[in-house]
Every structure is written in structure tokens, then in C-alpha cells.
Symmetry: D2
Subunit: 355 residues, 4 copies
């Protein structure tokens, strides 16, 4: 099988770099185009990128000439790590021009015809692409978003528990600095410190799960109903968002039932067979002091959501901790998994791998 | 006025050092005896202490010879920074021998005749000393405890709000490493990491506030009634425990009312006049990203509880953040304030300063 | 004595804030004007400053309206925390207009008629002001610089040793993040990391000491002669630059002699009597693992240079560690000390305090 | 080929864990025995190990029952991560009993008949094993050491430059916390701090390179002659020791020659073919601010020494920075590479893989 060319929007930023890193050696996709700011356009990626990850960018991508935001793109599949503002116009423009766009930007997440896709959670929402194409008159193009990086572990943890009747979810996050991009958080702000506020994230955590856990029918997505309350804080951690969650259920599951439900959870086919799908979407650690960001963020290659400390909450039923790698599962890795799902489901014209 | 000699139990540990530091230049008390482990007994304090605070121990204390745990103590007032185990026996033994013991240890906090004293919160509980002396047959001795260091900001924040009918309090802490003493938390455990568990603290946070906010009458303390749920985590911060709190009230105060209630809160006399009492027991910061441990822990010399981010909670009414310096207000500083209160109230024989 | 009004250029930056903080309650100077960027001009300092130090700006300064860089300044004394570029023109312009300018900027440090003043090191260089005034035709104005923040501990440590015939100095620094200003170092660059390069600082460390340790005569300053080699690195420390130094001497002092020389070192009169002069300009710590930035940077209120670990170097004679607080002694605090010296020496017209 | 059983002494410590991690999936060796303290003996490794690395120990090793230090060992090859004291007796005892012991302990490093082996540097020193066996009357047993973790990058960097006549080497290290084992460095000692002293390491850095760069002939190893001076400091970094080096040469190589010498350096056969040998033992990074511990420590799987910032030193000729992963290349990884070399050279009886 010939690999599919992909383009990366915002390729020089922190999430863009994660796309480049995760796509190195990808079995289906090959990075053919990198799009940056006007400042970097025309120069070799390897020269102008301030690589914030370990080591150096892969040699083949380092040699690519960076394109400007409005330059022509030839790759059928586009990953977007754009900031919100430029994403508002450029992403639909590319979808309209026939590209399948898998975006990490927040700009279009809550649009009624854009799937907020997390394959293990709501694979059925992929059907919204048909609505989208019809409504917007797009033939081969599509626009698919993934959620906020802190929403991710929350929705992953909740998905298997939906059967117990989730009534309310109280969340307090301890988020890594990489979630703010680069240069992002000043070291003078976070060394020996906690910042008890992350702009915009509380609202996203209180709204995105309702769409992601909703039901798609001919009228679009009917949002899930539950009360969501979030407090977001920033801590001196490189990668990995930890969320302290308390949940009220209509049913009365036991602790053992909840753990068993998590541990036996599997995504619907074909998700578990996708190249970037982790062997276990959820892992529950029995140790009393886990999950920990530095030690557990790379479980499943950074694609597994790691749970721990399930116990009764005197106030809301149960409480526990959930951890996801914010720039892998919470950003670039999820977009790539979304694209893999789109491919096998036939949404990328002329490229339908068999599993 | 001649200063009162005081002894410090556990003087070489992290909290013991804070006692030594805070008592330097104290207007009423002078450190006359430092008690350490058998390993350090007989040696000059300045030689054997591994001073974990800034600079060096005060010269006069550095020159004191460290005593062993069971050596005779001559100071009428004893501050205890003992670990729980040795505190169980030694503290009542000293009180029985006539010493007033102000302890930071958890050993006797929940005993029915031991005041769990936080002067701005429950000055009336000082009356429990009379019960204690009668029941235990102590004449001049007394045993007074202060709360856990993470309980401290919680109770300080709640005290002015009692009138609104506190029904439930949900707490997620982000605690500093100094709370674990020295050597305490291994750097390999906390660098670039969060540890989502602090042994013992969740239970203390779910029980101590009920006693501290309770009412004292002839039958002892009737505990307050409210639901308390705590999650305790450790973050890479030197000093300052931050607690993310959500509270349900029976009444319906507005945000402006709550802030005004906090800002106008003053302790009952004579507390505001005590040497270690901060000008403002509570400060509310209006900035959206405060309080922050590194920037706000030293407000009021580390004795002020700093609040911020009050807003509606979709689940429990209101939520906000509370911060206290854990080894000053949350430990040694509170014990010293307690001792000052005991002195002016006449509970230290032969030493009653006038304010 | 009526206090002297002072203005602070670059008052909203990290060093500018240190000026504001250190001048709170200063016995001679009062902050009357704060000058910021055009973006902040016209607004109250307290509203627009992103206060990176602990707590909040002093209330009286918080209420000042920020002026723009080119607005008129009325204060006779001006402290400058400007970046290099705007300092090039604006500082001499103000001196020419009659202001005494004490600057922390690097722009004019090596100009032949500008004293690179460190009072304990080269008080005699103050005489260069007379040359400066004559050459530039300034009457009451003057321009006096202090050194780079990493040069500072080096020169302080070397000054008392000049008599031994310093031949060569090898330096490797471990510098704090506050040295880069705000936002300065990105947290993604320095968390769990060392950056082995600090732009521009190696050159400054290899040149500034030669001027500072030089001799002033009628021909200006004759630079000291010695070989200087510097490597500058950045570490995850908030404040305090540590320099690992190796030194070759022409003479053969013993370790005891060197330590005694440091410990008995005193600046020439009137320097020790100045309000901001520390009781001890140099302190040598005997512990094998000191000085340490977090524990020792605030010795002498951040104005003392702290030395330790003096021992033979197999290569260069002796080696030791030197530490200074980079934004106090290494920046704002030194400028203030310089200004105090200028005042008592009669270089600020109409304001000559007696000691 | 049947894999060779290996035992790990000190398997529960920080370096012991690195052995377990690196040997997972090793093509030649399989972990058959794990030896711990008496406290952990008799229990499953997975239950008693406090795993300080990412994730969890491999399942097969987790299931092994930990043996006590003096229990019988059956594996022909033994890796030792013992502390110095127990290593003094136990390691020769095991070699005497016929085991090939590859140790990371310092106990026997400088013994005249023990190779201080770093395959890329001194593969010929392996011949010392014949002397050792003859002198000590060992038949199949052997004792081979690797160097201190901070010595490692120094010797790797110097080895290709020996031809230029190294006369003196000045070193200032910035070492990671993992070098002190677990619990090792207290977080209160290193957060927001540098500790300018690492017990024992300066002496090791000033002696071990002389042996490692020496010549083996019939009289044993003739030590290299050069002046070595080291200062060791600890910084808040998880893994990766950075050494700032200045070097004097008898010859006068240009910067370009030195870089070319490093980049073309290859170990002698059969070293480059060993399973754990990195593709490039040395990598020189051209960026002005590299190498950095967090970004560059995992180059070559943590087995490559990373160099950068080569420039003239005003004092000693040239200076540069060298970085190695201290628990991989500087400890467990080097021992494993040593064992691989011993195997292919026929020093492990009955186990001689072909490359």
C-alpha cells in the first residue's frame, strides 16, 4: 500500500511537533507538507523549528520547506495544530477544497455538524460527516475535531460508566505546562508554584463531554445530560494532565464493578485494530499513589488513559484520578487515531486501508 | 516583662526548625531548651541540625545543647513538633508535670478534652482546658493542639461562612513538599510529577473541621454537622498548601456577600492583638489566577489565609481556592499563636502579658 | 531630611519590580515616577504590572500612573532597568538633562567615562564622574552603571584577593531564571533541564571584571590584567547565580589566608555606612555543600556575596563557589547602593545626606 | 541461541531497576534472579520494588522471588548494582565461585587487576581478565567494573582526542538527581536549588580517567598522565549528567579538527556490533544551546555521549559540554555493554554469541 501524503498545519508549534514525531514511521501516513507562520515560510523545517521535544525532528521532515498558511496544499489529509483564530477560516476552507481535516483546534469543536471524535468513546459520531458534507456541499472534504486535552481523560473515564447513569461530575485538574504550547508558561510563573487557573479550559470541560457522550440520530447529536463542574490548575509537570474526579450515579455500582467495567472496556470495531489504538484504552492502577504524570503518562505509548484511587466520595458517590498524556492522547495522537478511523471507514477518497 | 522560657520538642525536624525561626526575636518567648532524638542529644543544636530553611539557625539557639526526649524540661511552655508516635506518651506526661504543651502533632487532636485550637476560628474552645485539667487532675499543665496543615486553610475559609449554613465541602488539595518533613518526599518522586495521595491527610481533613467548627458547652464540644470530602495530592512546591474547595450552603449568599464576609472577618478579642496574629486573617485576591503558593504564601508573614477565584459551582453552589503557608500558619506559627492566647487568658501560670 | 524623588525606567519588568520592592521604605529615596512601555503608559502601575515577585506592589507605587519612555521626568535621580536598546539613547539623554542615572542596563557599561561601580570593589571609580561631566558637558547629570548580574559575585570574590596577584580566573556559572527577566525562560525549556548557554553573559564575564578591578588615574581606568574564561549555564532556580570559580595567583596564599582575607574584608568608607550596604559584603560558609541558591541567596538581605568550598584546584591553584542574589545584589540592589554612594559623595545636587 | 540467565545484585534500587528495564527483551540475556536486601528477600519482585522509573517492571521479572544477598546464585552472569560496602566482599566471592560479575559499584574499580571497562574507550583492557584469573586463581569467574557515571561522558569525550596530547582537563558537572539513587536527594534539598557538592564524585573524576585511558601491557595498566580537576554539583534534573569541560592539548588542533575527530570516532571491533552499542558513541550538536539533559539524554537510547559548544577557552585551550544519561550509559547500560563484550570475546564459559 502506498502511504498517504499528509500536511500539518501549525507544524512548528508544540502540538505540531508532536504530530511530526508521532507520524515518524507511521504505517499509513507520510508527512509531505508542513505549514507554519509567514515568518518561517520558505525555510527548511529543521532550521526554523525550535524543537521542544526530545532529540531532533526526523530527518525527512527536517528537510521539508515550510509553507505559509495560505499556500496551496496538495495532501488529501490535513492535521491541524493551529491556534483558534487562524483555524476559524482556514480549516473549513481546506475542507471545502476537498481535504479531510483532523483538527486539534477548538474553533469548530462545538459546531453542530462537526464530530467531536474520540474513537473509543463515540465512533458512531463519524456519521455526522455525511450530514456535514450534505449541509456544506463538500464532496471529499471533511472537518473532524478532537476535544480539549483535559476533557480527554474525563470522557475516557466516564464512557464505560454511562450505563450507571452519570448525574454529576466534579473535576479538579492538575495540568502540565506543555498544554500551553511554546513558549507558553513562563518559568517564573510555574517554578515552585501552582497557577490555579487555565484560561478557557473550565468552560471546555463543562461543555465538550456533553457532546462527546451524546447520541447521534437523524437530527444530529442530542447532548448527554449531566452536571459538570471543573476547576483547572497548572502545575510544574512537563506532560500529563491529571484530573481528580468525583461522580454521582443514578445506579449504585460497587467499587469492584466500576473497576471491572473500566478494565474490560473495549472500543467498538474497528477502533481496537487501528495502528495508533493502544492495547488498552483504559488501565486501572491498584497502587494507592497512582496514576502519576511522570511515571504513567507513557503507558500505551501515551494513548492510554490511566485511572486510580477509586473510592467512595462522602459527597458525590465515588471519586478517582484520571491521567492522560496531553499532547499525545489529548492532542496529536487523538487526531491521528481519528484520521485512521476515517480512512478505514472510507471517508478519505482513494485511501481505504484494510485491517 | 521578663520573657518566658520555652522548650521545643522535635526541634531538629522541619517543623521544629520553623519554631526556632519564628521564635527568634519573639516579644514574649525565648527558646531555652531544644529537644531532639537520642542521636543528637548532648550536642550543640547548631552542629547537628540539618537546617532546611534559608540561612542558618539563630546564633543563640545554635549554641544550645540538644536534650533527649526523656530528659528533664524546665521551661513552663513547651512547643511540640514531635512525630505522632513519641507524642502519644510524652506530651501528656509533660502536661501532667505542669507544662503547658502546644502541639502540632496529630496524636491527641481528636481527644474530647483537648482543644483543637485555631484562635480566629474557635477562641471559645480554650475553655476546654478547664475540663481537661479537672478530668486529668492537672494543675498548671495543659495540652492544646493545632490542626493538620491542610485542614487549616479550609477551616479558616469556612469559619466566616458558618452563618450561611454550610452543608457540604468538597476539597482537592495541592500540597507542598515541606508538609512531609525532612527528608520527606524524595526528589525522584516529585520532580516533573504529581503524587495523587498524601497518607493520612484526607481523613484528617474530613474530621478535624467538624471539631474545630463545633460548639463548646458543659458537655464538651458538639461537632459541627456537614459533609466533608477530601482528595489530597502532592505537587513540586516548597511551601504553601492550596485547596480547591466547593461548598454547598443552606442559605443563598451572593458572591459579593461571601467576599465581603471574608474581607470583614475579624477574630474575637483578644486574638487580633496577639503578637503573631496577622493584620488580616483572611485576604481575598481579585486576580483570576490567584492565590499562588510561591507568590502569596508569605502574605501576613505566612499567617494569613489567602482566598481567590470565588465563583459558582455547577454542582455544589460555590467554589474557590484557599492557600495557607503550611509550616507557618499550618504548623509552628499556629502553635505559637495558640500559646500567646493561652498566656493572655491566664493559662500559663505566672506569665500573663497585657496587650 | 526630605526624601529624594526617584524615577524608575523599565519599572514594569522583572528588575524594575525589584527596584520598586527594594525602595519601599527606603530612608532616603521615594519612588515618584514609574516609566514603562508605551503599552502601559497612562495606566496605574498596580493595574498593568504583572507582578512576578511575592505578594503585590506597594500601595503607594501601585497608585502611580505609568509614564512613557519619552515623557518628561522630574525626579533628580533615575534608576534604569531598561533593556539595552532603549537604554542606548535614553540614559545619556536624561543625564544630559541633569538627572543622575544609575543603570542596570549593559548599554554603557564599558564606555571609558562611565564608572562600572560596585561600591565595595571600586569606590574610587566614582571619580570618573568628574571626567564624564567635563567631557560630555553635563553639569548635574551623571551616568553610572552596575555590572552584569553574574559578573557581580565574581568581582566581589576576587576583590580582596587582588593582593595575591590574580593571574587567571576560570568560571562556570549556574544561573537563575529570573536573570532572563519576564516572561524570559519558557518553562518547557528549563523544567527538568539545564540550558548550557546564556546569550551574551560569557563575554560580559570575561571583560567587565577587568574594568571593575582596574585603576583610575588622570587618564581614566587602566584595566586589570588577568585571563578570564567563562561558561554560563541556566538551571531551574528562581533567584541566585552560583559561579564555580578556579583562580591562579602569582603569590601562594594558604587556604586559611584566603578565607581570613575574605572574612575580614570591608569596603572603604563611607560604603559600610550606606543604608543598603550589608553588614558583611562577603560571607564564607564552612559547610561542604554551601553556598546553595535557595538557602543562601537572602543572606544580608540579598546584598551579601556568599562563598564556600575553597580548596586546591589540581589545575589552577584554588577553586571555590560564589553566590549572589542576581536581581538584588546583581541588579536593583546594587544600583540603589551606587546611588546612595553618589548621594553622600555629593554627586546629587541638593541632596547630600550625612551618615 | 538459548539466552543466558543473568542475576542482578541490588535489583530493587534505582540502578538495579534500570538493569531490569534495559534487559527486557535483550537478545542474549534473560533476567533469572533478582537479589535484594534481607527485608525484601522471599517476596515477589513486583510487590516489593518501589519502581522509580516510568510505568511498571516487566511482568516476568515482577514475578521472580527476590533472593537475599548471600543466597546461592545460579546464573553464570551477574550484574551488580550494589552499594560500595556490600560489594567489597560479595562481588569477588561470586567471581571466585565462577560467576562473571559486571559491576557498577565503586568498590573494586581501581584494583590493579580489575578492568575499568568502557568498550569504546579501552576494549584492550579486557585482557586484564587473564591477569586477574591467574593472580586470583579464578577459572571461569571474572570481575569487571564500569566507571562512575560522571566520569563516563568525560572519558568518552577525551578518548578520540588522546592523539592531540591531553595535558589538563578542568571539569564542572551539573548532575541529575537519579545519580544519588532512591530515596537519594530530598526534594527539600534540590527544588529551586543547586547543591554544589556530590560526595565522592570529584575524587573519582580525578582518578578513574587516568586508568581508563591508560595502556595495558604485561605489567598491567600504565596510567595516563594528565592533570584532572573536577567540581561536582547537583541540579534539579531527573536524568543526565552534564559536564562543562576545558582541555589543554600539547598539539594545536583546530575546532574543525576536533569536531571531525569526534564525529568520525568509532570503537574498535567488535564493539560497534554489540547489541547495546549505539550507532554513534559520540554525537556533536551544532546548536549553541545544546546538549541539554532533558532533550538529549535519550539519544542513542541513552548510550550516546552528546557534545556541544566547542570553542576556545581563554585559559586552557578549548572548552565544551558533554552529556551522558547517567543511569543508562553511566551505569546499567554500560555494564550490559561490558557483558556483551565479554561474551563475544569468550570470557563467559559456554556462551559465545556470534555477531
Amino acid at each position: 500500500m502506498k502511504k498517504l501524503n499528509v500536511a500539518i498545519l501549525g507544524a512548528t508549534g508544540a502540538v505540531g511537533q508532536r504530530f511530526v514525531q508521532l507520524l515518524e514511521g507511521h504505517p499509513w501516513f507520510t508527512v509531505a507538507e508542513v505549514i507554519g507562520s509567514s515568518r518561517s515560510a520558505g525555510k527548511p523545517y529543521g532550521e526554523i523549528v525550535n524543537w521542544v521535544l526530545a532529540g531532533a525532528p526526523p530527518a525527512d521532515v527536517a528537510g521539508l520547506t515550510v509553507k505559509g498558511l495560505h499556500d496551496d496544499i496538495h495532501s488529501p489529509l490535513v492535521f491541524s495544530a493551529l491556534p483558534k483564530e487562524p483555524a476559524i477560516e482556514r480549516e473549513p476552507e481546506l475542507a471545502s477544497a476537498g481535504h479531510v481535516v483532523c483538527t486539534n483546534a477548538s474553533a469548530h469543536r462545538m459546531a453542530s455538524d462537526v464530530p467531536l471524535l474520540l474513537p473509543e468513546v463515540n465512533v458512531a459520531h463519524i456519521g455526522l460527516i455525511d450530514v456535514q458534507r450534505q449541509e456544506r456541499g463538500w464532496s471529499t472534504g471533511a472537518l473532524v475535531a478532537n476535544s480539549n486535552c483535559t476533557t480527554m481523560p474525563v470522557v475516557m473515564a466516564l464512557r464505560p460508566l454511562v450505563g450507571y447513569g452519570i448525574e454529576a461530575v466534579h473535576m479538579v485538574s492538575e495540568q502540565a505546562i506543555s498544554g500551553a504550547g511554546y513558549p507558553g508558561v513562563a518559568s517564573l510563573d510555574i517554578t515552585d508554584n501552582v497557577v490555579p487557573y487555565v484560561s478557557g479550559d473550565e468552560h471546555k470541560m463543562e461543555t465538550e463531554p456533553l457532546k462527546m457522550l451524546g447520541e447521534l440520530d437523524e437530527n444530529g447529536i442530542t447532548f448527554a445530560e449531566m452536571k459538570l463542574g471543573a476547576t483547572c490548575t497548572r502545575v510544574p509537570v512537563i506532560d500529563g494532565h491529571l484530573v481528580n474526579m468525583s461522580v454521582s450515579f443514578a445506579a449504585e455500582p460497587s467499587i469492584a464493578e466500576i473497576i471491572a467495567t473500566w478494565q474490560t472496556f473495549q472500543a467498538e470495531d474497528p477502533v481496537p485494530l487501528l495502528p495508533s489504538a493502544p492495547a488498552h484504552p483504559l488501565v486501572y492502577l491498584p497502587q494507592i499513589d497512582r496514576p502519576q504524570p511522570r511515571r504513567d503518562r507513557m503507558i500505551g505509548g501515551g494513548m492510554t488513559t490511566v485511572l486510580g484511587r477509586l473510592r467512595e466520595c462522602p459527597i458525590m458517590g465515588y471519586k478517582f484520578a484520571a491521567l492522560s498524556h496531553n499532547t499525545i492522547r489529548g492532542a496529536a495522537g487523538c487526531s491521528i487515531l481519528n484520521a485512521e478511523l476515517l480512512a478505514v471507514c472510507g471517508y478519505i477518497e482513494g485511501f481505504k486501508p484494510t485491517l
